[in-house]
Symmetry: C2
Subunit: 199 residues, 2 copies
Amino acid sequence: MSSKKTNIRTRIIEATWRLMEQRLGKSISMGDVAKTVGISRQAVYLHFASRTELMIATSNYVDEIKCLNERLNQFKTASSGIELLEACVDVWGNYIPEIYGLAKALLATRNTDEATAAAWNNNMGCLRDICRETIETLDAEGILAPEWSKEEAVEMFWTMISIHNWEQLTVECGWSTTQYIDRMKALLKLTFINRLHKP
Amino acid sequence: MSSKKTNIRTRIIEATWRLMEQRLGKSISMGDVAKTVGISRQAVYLHFASRTELMIATSNYVDEIKCLNERLNQFKTASSGIELLEACVDVWGNYIPEIYGLAKALLATRNTDEATAAAWNNNMGCLRDICRETIETLDAEGILAPEWSKEEAVEMFWTMISIHNWEQLTVECGWSTTQYIDRMKALLKLTFINRLHKP
DNA sequence: TTTTTTACTTGACATACTGTCAATAGTAAA
DNA sequence: TTTACTATTGACAGTATGTCAAGTAAAAAA
C-alpha cells in the first residue's frame, strides 16, 4: 500500500539478487539478506513468508527488470527461420550473463524445493516456446533437416542453448560470449537446416 | 585391517550410493545413512571424518565398481576417428544412467563443497581426455571440420555429451537412451566432420 | 582365563540454519 | 490522542553437521 512498504520489499529483493550474483550458487541465508539490507532477520519474514517465497519474488523481479519477454518479442519480426534461429542465440546468449547468479541460485535449490523449481521451469518453458517457434518456421519454409521430427528438434535446440552449456563453455572453458554465440549458431544451423537447401 | 572394518566401511558406502540413487539430488544426511546401515550416526564418523569424505569415498567406490576406465579402454582399439566418436557416445551414453544418482548428488554439493567438486571435476577431466583423443584422431585423419580449432572442438564435444544434456533430453523430455545416443552421434558427426570428406 | 584392543553405543554439546511466537518500541495516519 | 503499522529483541522448536566423553560387548592377545 504505502510506498515505504514497497521500498523495503524492493530493497530486500535487490539485496537478495546482489547476493546471488556475488555468491554464485553458494546458498544465501535469511540472516545474510537481513544483514545486507540492515534490518533484523525477523523483519524479512514480515515481508516474505519463507526463503522460497523470497527467491521466487526475486526471480519475478529480475524477469521484470530484465524484460526477457520484451527482448524476445523484439526479434519476432525476423523475416526467416534462419534469422529467427540467429536472433534466438543472440538474445539468449547475451541475456544469460545478466541472470547467471539468479539462475545458479534457483538451479541450486531445484532438487529440494519444488516451488522454486516450478518458477524456474516456467522461465525455461518460455525459452522452449521460442525454440518451438524457430523450428516451426524452419519447417514451414521447408528447410528443417529431414532427419529431425519437429518435437525432437525443439527439444535438442532447447537443450543446446541451456544455461549449463553456456556455463561450461564460458565459465569453465573460458570462451567469450561472442565466441559462444558464434559457435552455437554455427552448430545449430548445421544441425537443423537441410544441407540440400543451403545457398 | 580386519575384513570386518572393510565390510562396515563398504556397507556404509553402499548405503550412501543406494540413497543417492533413490533420492535423486535430494540431500542425504549422515543420520539417514546410519539408519539405513543400522548403526548409530556417530559410528559413521568412526569411518568417515565428514560428509564430504563419505561422498568422495562413494564416488571412488562407484568408479571402481563400474570401471569407467576399463570401458573407455575397451574402445580405444577403434580403427578410425569416426568409430572413436561413435564409441565414445555409445559407452558414455550407456554409462550415465548407471551413475546418474551419484552424479546428481555430487553436482548438488558442487557449489558449497570444493572437495566434492574436485572429485567430480576429476571424473569429468577423464571424459575430456577421451574427447580430446577423438578430436585429435579426426584431425590426424584430416577430417576435422576446418572451422574448428582442436581446442574449441574438444570443449564443445565435451559440453555436448555432458550429463546435464543427457538429463534434459531423457529425464525431462522423455527420450530413450538409444534415441539420445543416435541423435547425439548424428549431431556430433555433422558438427565436427568435414562435410567435403564424407563418403 | 584374564586383559586389552577394537567397534560401536548413548547422550550431551556447540554451531548454524529455518521458521514461529510473544513482548516491546517507534512512527505515521485517523 | 488513539490506532495501526513496521520493526525490534529474545526465546523457542526443529533439523542439520561435527565433536566429545563415558560406557558396553566381543574378539584377539597375554
